[in-house]
Structure formats: C-alpha cells, structure tokens
Amino acid sequence: MEIVVCIKPVPDAETRLRANPAGTALDGEGVKWALAGYDESAVEQALLLKEANPGSRVRAVSFGPAPRTEEVLRAALALGADGATFLEHPAEVVPDPLLAARAVAAHLGRATWDLVLVGKQAGDDEAGLFGGALAELVDAPSFGGVMALTYDASARRFTFRRSVEGGAEAAEVPGRAVLALQQAWNDPRTAKLPNILKSRRATIDKVAWATTAGALGPLGTPTTQSVGFRLPAPRSGAKMIDYRTPEEAAEKLVRLLQEEAKVFP
C-alpha cells in the first residue's frame, strides 16, 4: 500500500510569535518550525498502518516555503517515512489552502497512492480546508476527525473511528480515500537518534514550482487572504495574593472567590 501523508511546518509551541510590520501575517523571522499536532498524528497513523501491512510505503509530501518545509519532511523521514516530496512554493505566491490542495492534487495525479492522510487542520491557522479540498480534487471520499485506522487487505477497505458529539462513530471506506486525522490520540513516537542522522543525509525529492504551476494552469485569485494578524492582548485583571503560608494563601483565595469573583456563595 502506498500511503501519502501531507504535512506542513507550523511554529513550534515554544517559539515566540510576532506580527510582520504590515500586521497582516506572522513574522517568520526567527521562528522555530516544527512538525506538530494533527500532522504528527497523521504521520504516526501512516507508520502504524505501514507496520501492520508489510510491504507498504509511507511518503511525506509538503507544499511550502524552503527551508522550513524541507525541515518537517526530514522530521517525517526521521520518524520512519520511506520517502519525502517537497513541492516548491515561491515566496511571491500567496499562501492559500486551496492552492496547496491543487498543488498536491497535481502531484498525486503523477504518483501512485492508495491512501492520503492529513492532519484534521493545521496547528497554526487551523483552517481545516486542505483535506476536504484535496479529496474533491482527486475525486476520493474524505472524512475528518479520524482515529484508529486499520486496513483490511482482503476486502481492500479502511475502517476507523471518528469522535462525534457524545460518542464515537465507526466507519469504513473502500479503496482510495483522503482521511484527516484527529490530534494526539495515538501517542506519536519520538525519532530515534540513528534515524535522525540518516534523515539528514536522505534525499528529498523536489518538485520545481514551474512543474506544479504548469500542471495547475492559471492560479486565479487566492480564495483566502490574510488581512490582519494580531497576538492576543496581554491579559489583565490578575490579582496577586500576598501570603506567608499556603494556608493563608488558600484562605485569602477562598475569600476573594466568594466576595469578589462570587464564584461560590
């Protein structure tokens, strides 16, 4: 089985964020990028499927700016992906989820694949558009919030669970599909040191922007556009309690909660 897992670099949870001078987007300068959240779950699921289905291969694919995109592809290789494809995205082309879906769909049109896994949404903009758009473009069924995916080789069927309001839904889908993974249900593995070293030397297949652009034809107007980017205002209203002992702190806290915040009588 040929499994394609689509990933995207997002700012590391510990990196400091700030807006660009125009206040329209994140300033990428000095940001540490990572493979994170839903995408990590997607890579883990791809590897679990590969391990359960000998002979399967996992290929990580990403469309985005260099060098951060190559970095997350290397992270996927270090985790155990067999190959990586970097679809170039020039800085002057406005980032857009639909464009990303079109670029990857154009690439998939030239590749063999049985299953595409994506994160349910990106860890940064949380747009959640890519998986559905890609499924539409490659004419494959699509589901979101997928967990515990298995493959029945004899019936050529994928079965999985989805968390839905108040419970879980069991579903199955025959043949090719685009499935968007729920976050943090599968305890993503840590890359092993020798694999990290190997991934640094591995070759990443690069698809030039000219190739992608040629397949896409006219780009049209981006479907989404970022008009403003602001960080949450620092929170105010915090009250520091002066205390000498934990008992005193608790007593003062309870009084404040009762009398000022009126959380309880």
Binding site: A78, L193, I196, R200
Partner: protein
C-alpha cells in the same frame, strides 16, 4: 577560522535529546531522587532511541557520534537529571576500553549485544583503598592455564547491580605497579562475581552504585583486552575520552540552575518588584551566566580537539574541572536566589547542588585534574 555554529544535524540531535529529557526524565527526576529509584524504564527508552552507547561506532550498531555531538546530547540530558545521565553514560565509559583495547573479533562479540538489545555495562577501576591512585590497585589476576583468576573488590561502580558486563582492571603483579595492570571483560554470570548493596548517595540518586566483588572468578584469556600490562594505558585513554562528557554533565546541571534561578527571579516579588530587578540578584545571575557560558565553550573546545585527533588531555581536564566547580557555584547561587524555598526539597534547585558535587569527584577528582593540568602546562613551559 573558528566556527561555533552547530550543523543542522547537531541541532536536531540536541533537540531530540532535549525532548527526551523533558518528556521522560524531568517528570521522574524528583521522585527518583527522593526514593533513590533506578528508573529502568527511562534507560530502556533511552536505549531504544539510540541515546545510549553514543560512542560505539555504527559498524557495531552504535550511534557512532563525535565527542562534540555527544556533549551536546549530554548537556541536554543532564539539565533534566544528572543522576539518570550518569547511568545512561555509564555504558559509554564501560565500553570505551573495548573500543580502545579489544581485537576486532572481541569488539564484534562484545559490542554487538549492547546495540542489539538493552544491556548495561559497568566500568570497574576504583577500589576501596584507591581511587585516584589507579596504579596502586590490588585486585589480582592470576594466570591459570587458558584463563585468569580474579580476586578483589571494586567500589562506587555505576550501574553495577544492573549490569550484564563488567570491564575490570586488575593487576597480574602488584610489584609492577601500573605496568602490571591488565583489562578484562567479565559477564555478570561469571561464578564468583557478586555486587554489593545499592549505595545511599547524596546525589545522582536515580543512578545505582555498588561494590563488585570477585572471588576466584575465572576469566578466559579471550576476554582479556590487549596484552598483560596494557590495562593502565587503556584506562587512562578511556578517561581521556569520557572526561569531557563529565564536564557536559556539570554544564547541564549549571544550565538548569541558571534557568530555574532566572525564571524564579522574574516571578518572585519583594519590596514591590520582581527580585530580578534588584541589583543584588542581577549580579548573581550575571556571574552564573558567565560560568555557564565559559563551561560550555571549554567543553565544546575539548570535544572538538579530541574529534580532530588531538589527545586533549589538558583541555579536557580544564573543561571537566572548570565546569564542575562552576556547577557547584551556580547551583549554590540558585539556591540563594530561591532563598528558603531553595532549601526545600519541593523545589528543584537543592538537588542540583547535591548532583553537582559528584562531578567534582568522579572520573578523576578535581585535585587530580589540577595535577594533570599543571603537569601539561609545565611541559610547555620547560
């Protein structure tokens, strides 16, 4: 030209080690310290991820890292828990004599199991009556046909209660002093080998330490490393390799102390402002930062020299000695900044002081390091 930038490969090793340290080691550090618990689950995971046996070449299935790569990893691990780091690194120390003194057949036979599955090894040099004076060791190795018979006792042996293999230094003739010392490998299953009680230590309490006794232990000639009398040189060359990572453990402790102290100083208020705004605290932080920074440069430089084929005896001794003395000072000041809280076991800084202390003592006490430094320095002056 001097280039201090890390390669992308090194940055990813460092990040990986940091992630492991934070997710696996740090959450267990206080509990293992308190209960003197040997967290085998952490060591197994470290092995699985390739964080053990860092010095074993990839030909034998090890990670085969340069010393600079190793110290980057060790600093990250030691920031979370120096005791666990000592236990993780003990394999490097115990296997180094094999890398240095073993025949190709022995290397294949002895190293492969460590890379194929989780095993611990212990380096047995120190004896109850002699630590720094390694030439005076008394554990005897008497030749008997195609074997040696070992008798004696080693002490303060890291991981000894859990090890499956011991690299042992014994003398074929005490009168020969260091020229009689010979290196052997002895499996745990050898008859007559026993380990003592797990020592109750001041720090590094997540690491296990005990005596190892040899009572008529027969060791086949095939398990001798090098020739008779090569042992002293094998031991010294081993320590030349492992001294710098000890500096990196001390550096990790100091970095942790600096980190905790800075964080606390920004958050703790006295006289209406964070204590970080008081100059008394700023001066402490500045001194601590200098000590950490200088330690790191010394450790990196010593590792770089050794990676480039130099012996690095002077520089690795300076790095180990300086970084461990610095770790003591920095941990001490971190406690001072925390005030009364720093003295409490509920806060992480007093452990750092207890952990730092050992780095001044083990793998060559700082007095021995100073003797070495002076000797190397005066060589140049003559």
């Amino acid at each position: 030209m001097v280039d201090f930038s890390l390669t992308e490969e090194q940055t990813s090793l460092q990040e990986m080690a940091r992630k492991f340290a934070r997710s696996e080691m740090l959450p267990r550090a206080a509990e293992c310290d308190k209960n003197s618990r040997f967290p085998e689950e952490v060591y197994r995971k470290a092995w699985e991820l390739g964080l053990m046996n860092l010095n074993v070449p990839s030909d034998f299935g090890g990670s085969g890292l340069s010393l600079l790569d190793q110290v980057l990893i060790v600093e990250e691990l030691a920031r979370a828990c120096a005791g666990m780091t000592t236990s993780i690194l003990a394999n490097c120390l115990a296997l180094e004599p094999i890398l240095i003194g073993a025949s190709p057949e022995q290397k294949q036979r002895l190293l492969a199991p460590f890379c194929a599955s989780f095993h611990l090894a212990s380096f047995c040099l120190t004896e109850p009556a002699g630590g720094s004076d390694a030439g005076a060791l008394t554990t005897r190795a008497r030749r008997d046909g195609d074997a040696y018979v070992l008798d004696g006792e080693k002490c303060f042996i890291t991981n000894a209660p859990h090890a499956s293999l011991y690299t042992v230094f014994a003398t074929v003739d005490p009168a020969l002093r260091h020229r009689g010392i010979t290196a052997f490998v002895v499996p745990r299953s050898a008859e007559g080998l026993s380990t003592g009680k797990d020592e109750d230590k001041m720090g590094h309490r997540a690491s296990a330490t005990s005596t190892v006794r040899f009572e008529g232990v027969r060791v086949p000639v095939d398990d001798r490393l090098g020739a008779e009398g090569d042992g002293f040189s094998i031991a010294m060359r081993t320590l030349d390799q492992t001294r710098t990572p000890i500096g990196a453990i001390a550096l990790g402790i100091a970095q942790a102390a600096l980190g905790y102290a800075g964080e606390y100083a920004l958050q703790r208020h006295t006289f209406g402002k964070p204590i970080a705004e008081h100059q008394a605290i700023q001066l402490k932080i500045a001194d601590m930062a200098q000590a950490v920074h200088a330690s790191r440069l010394l450790v990196w430089h010593a590792a770089w020299l050794i990676d480039h084929g130099r012996k690095g005896t002077l520089e690795s001794s300076i790095a180990k000695c300086f970084a461990s003395d610095a770790a003591m000072r920095v941990a001490d000041e971190a406690i001072q900044i925390f005030g009364g809280y720093g003295y409490m076991r509920d806060y992480p800084v007093e452990k750092l002081l207890r952990d730092a202390k050992l780095t001044q003592i083990y793998e060559g006490s700082n007095e021995i390091q100073r003797i070495v430094i002076a000797r190397e320095q005066l060589k140049g002056a003559a």
